[in-house]
Amino acid sequence: MKALILSWALAFAATAVAAAPAAPLAAPATPVVAAPAGPTFFIHNGKLYTVGAAGTIAGGDVIIAGGKIAAVGQNLTPPAGATIIEAHGKPVTPGLMASATQLSIQEIQLGAAESNDSSPDLTEDTAAFDVADAINPNSTLIPVARIAGVTRSLVMPVDGAGVFFGQAAVIHLGNGPDILVKRAAGQLVRLEPSVATFGPPQKKLSRPDLWAQFRETLDDAREYWAERAGYHKPGGYRDQRTFRIDLDALGPVIQGQEPLIVHVDRASDIREAVQYAQANKLKLVIFGAQEGWMAARELAAAHVPVIIDPDLNLPDSFSDLGATLRNAALLDKAGVTVIFQPQADDPSQYARTITQIAGNAVANGMPWDHALAAITRNPAEVFGIADQYGTLETGKDADVVIWDGDPLEVTSAPTALFIRGQRIPLVSRQTLLRDRYRNLNDRHMPFAYR
């Protein structure tokens, strides 16, 4: 049995979960998008916040070629044929990563149901739900977010009543059609009662209900994966409550390969999740964590990262009475890896608030460079794309932003944007609306002709 698990684990390191019934383990490889060959750019004289070992480089240059960062440093020589872009000493950062959004899987939250693939509709509980099946590279939310500097996102299902909500994915926000960077980037679980603010009332589940279901499902998954071949033998396997597709999806989670993203806010829930994950060797990420600062020591000791919206400071449920604006700073100070979610209410439409979120974390005590890491390198490392994204370093995909001021300042904005080496125009549906209506006096023809 153990051998089976081990062999699976080895196989799994480079494969995705099989989706078809009884499919062999030789599932399609995780689609890692190859950066396309691209034009060559020379960014001259920027203040480079590399978020890497080189730290900040004043008066630095960046060479972009073939979709990658070809060189970073001072006094570089522009390659022949490179388009030279003058940064005038302004800040240059890696593209930003907005974590825990529904970018590309949700167009309109309310009243346009078919445009919204963000949460399981079929069953309350499903680990098999995979946002990668829903990715729409033509979502109008993508240009809106990227012209604010967001070039990557951890796309996550939305949780509600239930335990398992399915698999997250990482996307890039560059030119499509293929924007999926990493499938099965995390499995979302909720282990505290949900609060339904709007919409139909949700079934309330108590913590012991949630935990019992959570434990049993993972036990099922372990048993299943221990003897996966026996599952379909007549009489050879016990009935399990969990669907086969969900058991399949949980394979990499129980093996500690794929992050288990547990949505809890209360300190006691955080501690319980940490203990369970340690005992079962799971790769845990805590999402929410409004009382994270109260369990910061345990989180740090167990090397468990958190995804938080640091602006949440209201006791808006009995699970987050300890919410505070100091959460990010205290977690960071304790040594916890912090990742930021944009405005938690609606992180997709407001993915562009990720810089403001980070700025407020700084205003409330987090070091500036740590806040920048929380929207670049940290999520890249935790969600397994640090080999290609997260810093301004040679060899990484060229996600590069030139800013007109401090990138975490609310009045700042990108002046130039590159995603995987392609220069992206600073245009969105919103800039087009702006330009159409900027002069109301000109009525010689209807606005629709502009």
């Binding site: 300190a267 006791p315 209506y437």
Partner: protein, 478 residues
């Protein structure tokens, strides 16, 4: 800069003149003399304010950058407050015996006013038993008042205070076509809503365009369409007009000495009649430009005025129409797309409406957003500048101070730093349009109600006592 506002002020003045004219030609409203008192107008004195300014000492903030809210930025300036009022704004002020606060490197603005909040009616904790913001049992409920739902112990009030909010309008939600009366509060900790109530501030009437009433009532007898919405507003105001006329006739008959029986009192229609009389200000949730135009027509049909369209994400498409009708547009900086009627919102909305000469402002509609309206204005200002509009911070500050005061009908009392106004004042640690700035001291009617550096001046509600949330800061800013 002020000139930009003349057309609006002109429109308002014309409107006011029209009101006065209406007033004068209606005999029922003339004072009754020489006989027993007969009421000749609808009563409007229920739930009277018990708020009184808290004790204060004369206070002089010295050598700060002052954004007055009147399009002026004065550096190295002083602000003097005494007896709850602004005494002077200028350089080199002196005041014997005043508490002196060094404002060097800091900024002073008027207190922030949020015209759209549900604090207290949708409080924290957000639990079923205290969800008191929408009387969603029928689409027209002018008889309800948000002040009767406000839970003064909502911890979010203190968080907003720590964000520099000194005045806020609490509205019923938007489930209903006509959702009830709003109330304007001074943001002081209190144990009753009456003790927060802004003395003399006009009431608002919450109305809602668009998707929400349809969604709530579509399967419950309607309205289920936009045309159903409009029929609903018109039916309600028709009844209100008839109700008002009945009472006017009664008052006139009594005054003439005729034997007359008073009509049955209807509390909801009374509120709408006060809207028709111009005493309650219509605050209307309305996203789409076409619906705003429709509502302007409805207001003309029945002779009421719409003070402001809230959530006016498409106001930038009809800014000229709003200007012409003297209607304010209340917007977010960058909320958009959470439903179809918000799909066309753009970050330049506030700047474009302002640039067209209409009255533009920020609002929160959110217990988190209300804590950083200064940052929201900063984003709106920056977006406008990037499209080439010359917007100074002296001007932009009005989007969270002067213009909200105008929309609420309290500009004579607050919203700018001018002599004689309520001393609702915020001292900021730096440029309030920076993400790194904090409200350091917040004065309401001259009383220091929040001090970031003094835990004793960091209020916490009863709900927060004995809870885990007492660290690491505790209280106001949490």
């Amino acid at each position: 800069m002020e000139r930009r506002y003349w057309p609006i002020l002109g429109a308002l003045a014309l409107f006011a003149a029209a009101l006065v004219a209406v007033w004068l030609i209606i005999p029922a409203h003339k004072p009754v003399t020489g006989q027993a008192h007969v009421a000749d107008q609808f009563p409007d004195d229920q739930f009277p304010s018990t708020y009184r300014p808290y004790p204060s000492r004369p206070t002089l903030i010295r050598n700060a950058t002052v954004l007055t809210g009147t399009d002026r930025e004065i550096d190295h300036a002083d602000v003097l407050m005494a007896k709850g009022k602004i005494v002077a704004v200028g350089r080199n002020l002196t005041a014997a015996g005043a508490v002196v606060i060094d404002g060097t490197g800091k900024f002073v603005t008027p207190g922030i006013i949020d015209v759209h909040s549900h604090l207290g009616v949708y409080p924290s904790p957000n639990v079923e038993s205290m969800s008191d913001g929408n009387e969603a049992v029928k689409p027209v409920t002018p008889e309800v008042r948000s002040e009767n739902s406000v839970w003064p112990q909502d911890p979010a009030f203190s968080r907003a205070l720590a964000g520099g909010v000194t005045t806020l309008e609490i509205l019923p939600g938007s489930a209903n076509l006509i959702g009830g009366r709003s109330v304007v509060l001074k943001n002081v900790p209190a144990i009753t809503s009456e003790a927060m109530k802004f003395p003399g501030a006009p009431y608002g009437l919450k109305m809602a365009c668009g998707e929400n009433p349809k969604r709530v009532y579509g399967a419950k007898g309607g309205p289920m369409t936009l045309m159903g919405n409009v029929a609903g507003y018109r039916a309600a105001f028709q009844k209100a007009a008839e109700y008002r006329d009945k009472w006017r006739k009664y008052w006139a008959d009594k005054k003439a000495g005729h034997d007359a029986t008073p009509p049955d009192r209807d509390i909801g229609l009374e509120t709408l009649a006060l809207v028709l009389d111009g005493k309650i200000r219509v605050q209307m949730h309305c996203y789409r430009s076409d619906e705003m135009a429709t509502m302007i027509d409805v207001s003309h049909e029945f002779g009421f005025h719409i003070a402001a369209f809230h959530h006016a994400t498409e106001a930038y498409k009809v800014a000229d129409l709003l200007k012409k009708n003297g209607i304010c547009a209340v917007m977010w900086a960058d909320w958009w797309g959470f439903k179809m009627e918000a799909y066309d919102a753009i970050p330049e909305g506030i700047a474009l409406v302002d640039h067209a000469g209409a009255c533009a402002m920020i609002h929160s509609d959110d217990a988190i957003g209300i804590q950083r309206l200064n940052q929201e204005v900063a984003k709106a200002m920056a977006a406008g500048r990037r499209m080439g509009l010359p917007i100074t911070r002296a001007h932009a500050v009005a989007w969270m101070t002067r213009n909200p005061a105008k929309a609420l009908g309290i500009l004579n009392r607050t919203g700018t730093l001018e002599k004689g106004k309520d001393a609702d004042v915020v001292l900021w640690t730096g440029d309030p349009f920076s993400v790194y700035a904090h409200a350091e001291k917040v004065f309401i009617d001259g009383a220091l109600m929040y001090d970031r550096d003094n835990p004793k001046l960091s209020p916490r509600s009863d709900f927060e006592l004995g809870q885990v949330g007492q660290g690491p800061n505790g209280g106001a800013g949490q």
